[in-house]
Structures are given as structure tokens and as C-alpha cells.
């Protein structure tokens, strides 16, 4: 019998497919639908202290081998989004509150709010490739990062995950400082900085010009990052980047991931993708005589 339940530190998941931040998480209803569709956990969109409209359209376009977006962290602010999260308290699926900020104080107050609202864990978005003063500027500075993580850990009792970027050279150093700071898990990877230029008008298609590249094309980049992170730290890793099928998820497990997040595949395969991927994982494990996800985690280097 195949058991696909998994755990990320203290957090128990009935299945390893999580909804990635920024996908179908506008409100309680959209997140509820992803739960109905079988997501093992939900990560909210990234929330800041104040409401933020994000960038003008186009904010999302499809590319030949992936998806390019520059939303610009649109969100109603922590107070209003709290109402949405509270509505999900009834569900038995873990809700992970994704937050972004410019400094430790912002992250701390956001994390405290998330805890009040009933989130089951916090995901620190320190890797958004297209939001000035937030995201990458924070995520590539080990000292600032360490300060943020440790202060958040001091002020909330929830597990704290840190989502990292592939757009940095010193990934090992970064995740080690995250581990030292007491984080409970690493989420890898955020999107890859990219651009599409429209030839007819000779201008970048996205209003923000550059954006984050996700989807099928970036899977090999994500797998590599997860593998490298697994060599550098002992923390559980949540793999994200181009996961569309059960075999994609298994590749991430073997690279060292304990769970995966699914985003662009909601476009490729519809909201049913969570159930489909879980079924595919079970079938593959059955055919290859695996019984637990833990047997797969890190298999590529163990």
C-alpha cells in the first residue's frame, strides 16, 4: 500500500502537493476550490502591511516553454486578507501565510498577524524577482536575511519557511544562514528573471518589462537548486518550479524535496492538477515498489 502523506518539520500533509503562492489565492473562495481539488496545503499570495495594486497589465503571458509574470505583489494588505484566511479555519488542510516586507520589523508584524488569523505556518517571500525594495534585494543579503528569520522565529510559534531565488550565485551560503537563523524549511525556487519582447512593437510585453519565468522550462533549474540546497543544509525542502506531473514531483523528491508546490501547472492541467499529480505519484511508487515518500526524498544523493 502506497502512503503519500509527508511532513515539513512539524507540519503534517496528507499529500505532498501544495498550492504555490500567487496562484488561485485571491480570496477564501479560490483557495477553498484548490482544497476541494486536492491540494495538500495552501500557500496564500504574498501579503504586505498595506494594500498594493501591483503593476498594470500585461502582468502574465505564456511563453513557448513556460509562463512569464510580473504581478508586482498585488494584495489587499494584511488586515483585509486576514478575513479571507479566517474563513479557512474550518478546513483540515494547512494554510501557509506568505508575507513580504522590506525589513525585519515588517516581517515580524505580518507574521504575528498571520498567526492571529489562524495560519498554520509562515512563508517568507524574500525572492520575488520583480518588486523593488522587496524580494530579491532582501533575499541575496545573508545578514539581513538572518535578522529577518531569527526575529520572526522569536515572535511567532509557527513553523517558518523561507522561499529562495534561483537568481543568486551564493545559494549555499544563503540557505546556511537561513538554517542558522532557525528557519524550519526552505522553499525553492521562486521564478527566474526573464523577459519577452514583442517584435512588432519593439517593446517588452510585460508592463514591468522584466518578469519571473515559471512552468515547464524551469524544472531543471529548480531540481538543481533543491539538490544543491540538500547538500548544504539539513532543513526540509519544499520543491517548486515546473512541476506538472507526478514524475516531475518524484524528480524533486529524489533531489531532496519533502513536498512540492504547484503553480503554473494549474494552467497546464487545470485545478484538477493536484489530484492528478497525486494519482500519478501513487501509480509510479506502486510500479517501482516504493511505499513512502520518505524513501524517495534525497534518493539521488543517498
Amino acid at each position: 500500500m502506497v502512503d503519500i502523506s509527508t511532513s515539513i518539520g512539524p507540519l503534517q500533509l496528507k499529500n505532498p502537493t501544495m498550492l504555490a503562492s500567487g496562484i488561485m489565492d485571491e480570496d477564501a473562495g479560490s483557495m477553498q476550490r484548490m482544497i476541494d481539488c486536492g491540494a495538500g496545503a495552501i500557500v496564500t499570495k504574498s501579503i504586505g502591511l498595506k494594500p498594493r495594486e501591483g503593476y498594470a497589465n500585461p502582468t502574465v503571458i505564456e511563453l513557448d516553454h513556460g509562463i512569464l509574470n510580473a504581478m508586482g505583489l498585488p494584495n489587499p494588505g494584511i488586515e483585509l486578507h486576514g478575513d479571507e484566511i479566517k474563513k479557512l479555519r474550518a478546513t483540515n488542510v494547512p494554510i501557509i501565510g506568505s508575507i513580504y516586507g522590506a525589513d525585519a520589523n515588517e516581517f515580524v508584524s505580518l507574521a504575528q498577524k498571520m498567526q492571529q488569523f489562524g495560519a498554520n505556518a509562515i512563508e517568507l517571500n524574500v525572492s520575488c524577482p520583480h518588486a523593488k525594495h522587496y524580494g530579491l534585494e532582501v533575499g541575496c543579503d545573508p545578514d539581513l536575511l538572518q535578522k529577518i528569520v531569527s526575529s520572526v522565529k522569536q515572535h511567532v510559534s509557527l513553523p517558518v519557511f523561507v522561499k529562495v531565488s534561483p537568481n543568486i550565485m551564493n545559494l549555499a551560503e544563503i540557505v546556511q544562514s537561513i538554517e542558522e537563523a532557525g528557519a524550519d524549511a526552505i522553499v525553492a525556487i521562486n521564478t527566474v528573471k526573464a523577459m519577452k519582447i514583442n517584435l512588432e512593437t519593439a517593446r517588452p510585453v510585460l508592463a514591468n518589462k522584466t518578469g519571473g519565468y515559471s512552468g515547464k522550462a524551469i524544472k531543471p533549474i529548480g531540481v538543481r537548486c533543491v539538490y544543491d540546497i540538500a547538500q548544504a543544509v539539513d532543513l526540509p525542502i519544499i520543491g517548486v518550479g515546473g512541476i506538472t506531473t507526478g514524475e516531475d514531483a518524484i524528480e524533486y523528491f529524489m533531489a531532496g524535496a519533502s513536498a512540492v508546490q504547484i503553480g503554473s501547472a494549474v494552467y497546464y492541467r487545470g485545478p484538477e492538477v493536484f489530484k492528478s499529480v497525486c494519482d500519478e505519484i501513487k501509480t509510479w511508487m506502486k510500479n517501482h515498489r516504493y511505499t513512502k515518500i520518505t524513501e524517495l526524498i534525497g534518493a539521488a544523493f543517498r
Binding site: N57, E62, G270
Partner: protein, 259 residues
């Protein structure tokens, strides 16, 4: 590929005060009720339901209200726009005696559907609801299609004075209407729905959109119904369960904006 394809504007016609129809070459099928994402380079990209379908030439009808529509309004024949789509589910024309109720610019996107009804040889009645005479458009067009056209204005400057939904209420009874298709202000559509206990009802909803491919969640209503993919056309049974129908929409930041 969900990426804007550049095309040039073939015509720009002022239908009424601040209301224009622009046409452009964009091959491919589109069902009445479906929409395109229209990119005005350097300004914005907005969803626009199709209001005319003539082989490779498609048209959209809109009001000059925001930055995007203002820019669109100013574009002339020969100017470039980007188009991607079509998106959404579109109407499914069932029933033998349809009533079409358009409110404001919602009138525009009903035209291709009424043309479809004509091809199906259905006796069609169209109600055009506007605030005042100056905002009325497409009256002739619907007449040419062969539909019975009724007009309602808030100020009574032409036709029935009052809400289109009220006018519709009578017609539904008198004409033994068995299906209502509507696009317009959500409160209008909501009261219209309340008059359609037993008969078919399809309404086209409008929400702020970003991706239009069903992933960003911006346009979700109810329990995660994506107006861009699961809509924009929803039937009465579905809408009765959607608490936000006619109550609020969300702005770009995700804040609830009451109607």
C-alpha cells in the same frame, strides 16, 4: 500561445456619447460571450467581449471610462493593438423564445448572440437599458437583425422609464419567454435573475482581470469560479449560489468594491 498578437485597427466608430466600436483583423473562431484581452502598448491590457464577428474581422464596443478605454478611444484606423484569446466559455443559446437584456455597454456583446438567434430562426426580443437617450446605441442594429427592440431609460428620455429589469419582468410574462440572456450592471442582472425562477438564465459577468488563463485568481467569484475561464457566462443555478454576485467586485489590490 497566450501572448498578444499585434493587429491594426480597421475602423473606429462612435456609437453614442463616449461609446465606440473598433474593429480589427483577428482570424479564428469566437463564440458570442467570449472575450479578448486587448493590449494597448504602453498603457494597459483589458478584457473586452466581442461585439461583432465578420469572418476574420472582429469588433469590440466599449465606454470611455478608464485609462485603458480612453487610450483605446483615441486610437485611429491603422493604429496597432495587441490581441490574445478568445477566452471564456461564451453563451450557449438554448430555449425557443429568448429575451436579451443589455444594460449600458453590456448591450454591445449581446449583438453577436442575437445574430446567432436569428440564424436559428428564433423570435427574439431585446431590451436596451440605458441611463438616458444619448447613451443608447445598437437600436438599429438589433432591428436590422430582426429582433423586437424595447428601450428603457432611467430618466424616461426615450422608451420605458425605469430599470430594464422591471421592463423585462413584464415581457417575460407577456411573451412567454423561456430563456433570458443578459449583460449589464450586476444589480440589474441580479434582480433580473430573481424574475427567472423557472426559466433559463445566462449572465455575462465582468471582473478586473490579469492573466485571463485561470491562474492568478484575480477574477474569482464564489467558491473559486474564474470569470476568465469558468465564465464570463454563468447560469442562474450557479449565480444563485454566488454570494458576491451583484454585491461586490475586487480591485487590482483584491479589495472588495461594493456595486
Amino acid at each position: 500561445m497566450n501572448q498578444p498578437i499585434i493587429t491594426t485597427i480597421l475602423s473606429s466608430f462612435e456609437e453614442a456619447t463616449d461609446i465606440k466600436t473598433i474593429t480589427f483583423r483577428y482570424p479564428g473562431k469566437i463564440t458570442p460571450g467570449q472575450f479578448y484581452m486587448i493590449w494597448i502598448p504602453g498603457v494597459d491590457e483589458v478584457p473586452m467581449s466581442v461585439s461583432s464577428i465578420k469572418q476574420d474581422v472582429k469588433g469590440i464596443t466599449f465606454r470611455n471610462i478608464g485609462d485603458a478605454t480612453q487610450a483605446l478611444y483615441r486610437l485611429r484606423k491603422g493604429d496597432q493593438i495587441g490581441v490574445r484569446g478568445p477566452y471564456g466559455n461564451g453563451f450557449t443559446l438554448t430555449g425557443k423564445r429568448p429575451l436579451f437584456v443589455g444594460g449600458g455597454t453590456g448591450i454591445g456583446m449581446l449583438a453577436p448572440l442575437v445574430e446567432q438567434a436569428r440564424r436559428k430562426k428564433l423570435k427574439s426580443t431585446v431590451i436596451l437599458g440605458v441611463k438616458t437617450k444619448d447613451e443608447l446605441f445598437f437600436e438599429d442594429r438589433f432591428q436590422q437583425i430582426g429582433a423586437t427592440v424595447l428601450v428603457s431609460t432611467d430618466d424616461g428620455s426615450v422608451g420605458y422609464q425605469g430599470f430594464a429589469s422591471e421592463l423585462a419582468k413584464d415581457i417575460i410574462k407577456k411573451e412567454r419567454i423561456d430563456a433570458v440572456y443578459t449583460c449589464g450592471p450586476e444589480q440589474m442582472m441580479r434582480s433580473l435573475l430573481s424574475f427567472c425562477k423557472t426559466i433559463l438564465f445566462q449572465a455575462s459577468l465582468e471582473r478586473y482581470m490579469k492573466c485571463a488563463i485561470g491562474i492568478c485568481g484575480q477574477c474569482c467569484i464564489g467558491r473559486g469560479l474564474r470569470v476568465c475561464v469558468d465564465g464570463p457566462i454563468f447560469d442562474g443555478t450557479t449565480l444563485k449560489k454566488v454570494q458576491d454576485f451583484g454585491v461586490y467586485r475586487r480591485d487590482a489590490a483584491g479589495r472588495k468594491i461594493p456595486f
